[in-house]
Symmetry: C2
Subunit: 254 residues, 2 copies
DNA sequence: CGCTTCGTTGAACAGCTTCAAACCTTGTGG
DNA sequence: CCACAAGGTTTGAAGCTGTTCAACGAAGCG
């Protein structure tokens, strides 16, 4: 629909799943041989997105699932009133678009946070292949389930955690997810703005900014705009769980 | 594993999907003839749960998905520290257990809110059938997706909405979901406690109680313990969306 | 270099929570 | 049948965390 860069990149991007660095982290995990070749054939030409570009928006017809190959995206919901909630940030190897399976149209919006490349998985073909390759079917369900579990964690954070814990959990989560993508597990480059982080955590920018400052003052991390270095992973881990001054009311039913 | 009542109920419970009142709302929606018979054969003897009984808990091996046939359940996450977040309430026709697909064990807990009956769908057999019945496969994915979309709404509520809006949305949602289960669309019987409601909404009991009182005072509804009558559906609908005194900070990237 | 957007900091404010206590309901046993 | 206990629900007052409002500094972009 836009961006002439797509054509230029096609040659480098056109690579099979088998040779992709993300192979074991992505949809093909656990799929080999002929099955993998079949899956590979179902994957459409890769595309690239510039920062701020939309991959799909609310109401778009559902055609495909998408895998982040490089870069990162955010998905969010926006209501009539115009306010917006970020649902997730998506890193390489992660799959987007599952929200559209229910109604055959997307009910959220996906936007690149930086220059990113994407593998497109046309759903019709994916279904064909997965009819012949049970392993793919199972893998698809697993991936959706994983997505749900991640959302549960998000929900717990929103429901029960104070602001500092939220940011700590967010950072810890990013560290964990980047851990198997890069060798450096204490340095992060945040591709999203403070507004995005705040929104994702159910806070306002000011609060997030103050928390970064405080965490820097307490020596947990070093922050400079987009770049964050975790100086004390142990302290960060501690911050992730609220230390209850008073035990919570319980809900036992035996 | 327990409860002698199970055996007694088997005869009434042993009914095929084809004759079930929930047919079109449940997993078999859109599946007919031979396909339906195959699915039906994969569904295990139904079971009943008493109020407070656990269907599965965190760490349990994943064996089956479950459909609520009657009654209602809550699913929740509980961390080491002991605090708990309710993820969802499940009404008749809704499916539970998808969280376990990723890791082959449940990562949440499901508990009956009242006397409930459940259809058990052993996953291995479900997968066999869905390999032969592509429609079932698609339907399964749709149902998971629907679940995800519902969770997104929950997330938005937690992230952006003030307390009164949360309760209003919660009630409106229950009304909507009960609407196709019963003819009466203004009366609700809340099977969950105020604690559960508060927890689900990310609030404390006191706040929820005050909100019920306020909504009653403003004539939106009439509440008496578990029973709620919506007197002014129009007002309830209005309460669901925050009327911004000041437009929010936007996130345009255009 | 000026403009705009993003990020940080400070002070006042507000909404929800915490703490406390009373009331109501339900179930139990005398 | 009633007294009592235990948990669920409601109400009030005080307190705190995060928000709002405001202003400034820093970075990216024409």
């Amino acid at each position: 629909m836009d961006s002439g860069a797509v054509i230029l990149d096609l040659n480098q991007l056109r690579r099979s799943c088998a040779s992709c660095a993300l192979h074991e982290l992505c949809l093909p995990a656990g799929i080999y041989g002929d099955d993998l070749r079949q899956l590979d054939a179902a994957i459409r030409d890769k595309r690239t997105l510039e920062r701020g570009a939309t991959l799909y928006r609310d109401g778009d017809a559902f055609r495909a699932l998408y895998v982040v190959r490089s870069g990162s995206l955010k998905t969010f919901l926006q209501n009539e009133a115009g306010d917006l909630q970020i649902l997730a940030f998506h890193l390489p190897g992660e799959i987007l678009g599952f929200d559209a399976l229910a109604s055959n149209q997307h009910v959220s919006q996906a936007e690149a946070l930086e220059h990113s490349s994407i593998c497109e998985l046309p759903y019709a073909r994916l279904m064909q292949v997965s009819n012949e390759v049970p392993a793919l079917h199972r893998q698809l369900m697993r991936v959706i389930s994983r997505e749900m579990v991640a959302e549960h964690r998000h929900l717990v954070m929103m429901g029960r955690q104070p602001a500092q814990e939220r940011l700590a959990i967010f950072l810890q989560n990013l560290v964990d997810r980047y851990a198997h993508l890069s060798r450096d597990d204490i340095s992060l480059t945040l591709s999203m703005s403070r507004y995005d982080i705040a929104n994702y955590l159910g806070l306002v920018v000011e609060t997030v900014s103050r928390l970064f400052t405080r965490m820097q003052e307490t020596g947990v991390l070093e922050v400079n705009r987009k770049s964050v270095r975790i100086l004390r992973p142990d302290l960060l881990a501690e911050l992730c769980s609220t230390q209850h001054p008073v035990p919570m009311k319980r809900h036992d039913h035996d």
